[in-house]
Point group: C2
């Protein structure tokens, strides 16, 4: 059979990895796919640089639109990133009947509805395994492996940069700034680390996972996002003392009133499996009503781990590109006409356990006043520690049972107005799973 | 669209779970699959008992051959187990053009070649996600999620019964007999636990994983199998003292000379992710050249976890039952005409690290003699501990670097013939991954 013809947009880290993996494993891939997969055309900014990599049998252009319109091309692989040009290119590729493989989480989180609708109308596939958790086949697990289940929640470490930073802060006692600098030196963090450390990258991925878990539209704008920049060494140490570790988790959970969709630093029990995912590794825990908890672990980024997902998608598309659309897995796991309009809950309505840390005057009655305030707000205390501090102050840390966030925030406001308070209340969420 | 019609053979633990999950999640499954999946006929030994469960709209028979020959049925789900009748039923179902979903690892490990060939000739699918690691979609991960990779090795805890026993022995200091009895009381072990504790069940699953990882025929008879019945509390404790835990692992690895295919108790570092898979949980670690290590974790057995895999297969078959065979994933991940004839290595040629424990007279020169014998056999020592014992004996434990098993066995034979030996040498394999 003729090789299937691929146009590659972008020959950076992931594009280069995709090129390398396809070539190195061509024989093995052919044995699996039953057909060769050939990159016939590449669009890059620097044509000369690309020429040094890909050799003379591949056409190179600096105009990506030439590639997405090229009649010989069956599948377009979009690895240029960004949301403006990439969106135009994807829509143009779809309009020309191309199937698309992409790693672009930002684009799909923001413009997924438009793109998937266009693809469905045209009868082409958009695959995006590489957009979430690198080489871990988590999208395949949720879209296909766990289809028997009513999925209850998904919780994951889906940003390797922040997991690396938190691991280094905890195990090597680095400050946030030191750990970030080290992550940049190792290539785990970009020169502008904003999207990682602010939780935006994790929220984009979580938005896609939530959509596939619950059959809801992609709604990035409704995600609650809190990064790790405000975390103090003190909280990391206190968490450890209490038997927890702090991880930046993406959590999406089905509740009676709607769907929780939130990214924030989270205390998880130190002996739990998520707590032990260290360095730049990713892991996603999925809870289904039939299967219970399953976990998917691996490298969430990097040249070849991400290329592994891109090439797996290429093989899936190669198998199914001539199939009826009904024989393909729906883009977002549920049939387009069966998507549900379940609301995303605002963060105020989220239910979690909480870690509350504060500094108070070390005088009688303080504990009673705070405990009464929490009790009045309907918040039950799971455990508490008091530690003496300098200057006659005491450090209090409460771990609460499950409570609604707005009740906790109201209680915090009341507590902060009490006369014996010597700090604001640091509030972190706690999940036991 | 008309519901797809399923004939169910067996309504025991997994059959009952499949019935329950399909009914409870019918709406969710329909939203995903785009089509209802309906069990129209059930074959059981006890018709009256089944009638109480399935209601009047389902035909019940005690002749499973009626079901596999029933023209109205599209998919046969085989959950009766065993290898004799089940083999005949599967071949008959295939001959009648039925697709088959099965959880029968023993059958596929022993008769897979015959069954897959028959299915390929007839153009029907045999799916078996439930045959390995229960609800964990590990077969989908290897057959589809990691297709870009040249897989180097797979190592897994794929028998929950033995993992539960080893966890209890370690954490609660039970003897093997006590832990087995407890596993039986909890329903984790069967009345006849032979297939679990002897490693046979794990080897059947590993045989299937190896075939899909490397594109080789299913060859259960060539697997090396060693169970956990000979493990002593002393070795569990010594392993822990050395920073290891003992797990029953299935390991299959590609080497230049062939494929290793082996199930045996294995020391793994206590802080490694596999070491921390406790109780009856399963986990499979896969190493691919592009993606690196990925791990898949969850419940490896039980009514609904296993049903989760059966129903996911039903949904896959529902999507693809009218597709061209070329649009389906090959049964064993590689195209039938591209299977490789790589030999399975005999256990003598396996390469591993080793734990060697022995009791010796506590006299000068013993250590030098043993070290020289190991060195003569080309075996390098990684670490050693000596502990005094009663009666003037000393207990020696060596951890070796990688060595070929036959060299280790020869060295052990020489050491055991030395005059100062007061025990045989206990030999366990060690893997660091």
């Amino acid at each position: 059979m003729e090789p299937i013809k691929v146009g590659l947009l972008g020959l950076g880290v992931v594009g280069g990895g995709t090129w390398n993996v396809l070539r190195r494993n061509a024989e093995e891939i052919g044995r699996r796919a039953g057909r060769q997969i050939e990159i016939v055309r590449v669009a890059v900014r620097d044509v000369a640089k690309a020429r040094a990599k890909v050799g003379a049998d591949v056409q190179i252009t600096d105009d990506a639109f030439e590639v997405v319109r090229d009649p010989q091309i069956d599948i377009v692989v979009e690895l240029i990133g960004g949301v403006t040009l990439a969106r135009e290119l994807l829509l143009e590729a779809i309009a020309h009947g191309k199937h698309v493989v992409t790693a672009n989480k930002a684009l799909l989180a923001m413009h997924g509805t438009e793109i998937f609708e266009a693809a469905s109308r045209k009868g082409v596939m958009i695959t995006f395994e590489a957009a979430v958790a690198g080489g871990i086949p988590i999208i395949k697990a949720i879209r296909e492996g766990l289809t028997a289940n009513r999925i209850e929640w998904v919780a994951g470490i889906i940003n390797g940069t922040t997991n690396y930073i938190l691991s280094e802060m905890r195990t090597n006692k680095l400050t946030f700034a030191q750990a970030l600098q080290q992550a940049q030196q190792l290539g785990y963090a970009e020169a502008d680390p904003t999207a990682d450390i602010q939780g935006i990258d994790a929220a984009q991925k979580l938005t896609l996972l939530a959509s596939m878990a619950f059959g809801i539209p992609v709604q990035f704008s409704k995600a609650y996002i809190e990064g790790i920049t405000q975390l103090s060494d003190e909280d990391l140490e206190t968490a450890q003392y209490l038997g927890y570790r702090i991880k930046l988790l993406g959590i999406t959970r089905r509740r009676a009133q709607g769907i929780e969709l939130r990214v924030h630093p989270t205390l998880v029990p130190a002996n739990s499996i998520l707590a032990n995912v260290e360095d730049a590794m990713n892991a996603v825990l999925v809870n289904g009503d039939a299967v219970g908890q399953t976990l998917y672990y691996g490298k969430g980024a990097g040249e070849e781990p991400t290329a592994s997902a891109v090439v797996a998608d290429l093989i899936d598309v190669t198998r199914l590109h001539t199939a009826d659309p009904g024989q393909r897995v729906p883009h977002l796991a549920f049939q387009p006409d069966a998507m549900a309009d379940i609301p995303i809950l605002p963060i105020d309505e989220v239910v979690s356990s909480y870690y509350l840390r504060m500094m108070v005057d070390d005088v009688p009655g303080v504990l009673a006043d705070i405990a009464r305030e929490l009790s009045n707000a309907g918040i039950s205390i799971g455990s508490m520690i008091q530690q003496p501090s300098e200057q006659g102050y005491a450090r209090l840390v409460f771990l609460t049972h499950s409570a609604q966030e707005q009740a906790v925030n109201r209680a915090i406001a009341s507590i902060e107005s009490m006369p014996f308070m010597r700090s604001q209340v640091t509030r972190l969420r706690v999940e036991e799973f």
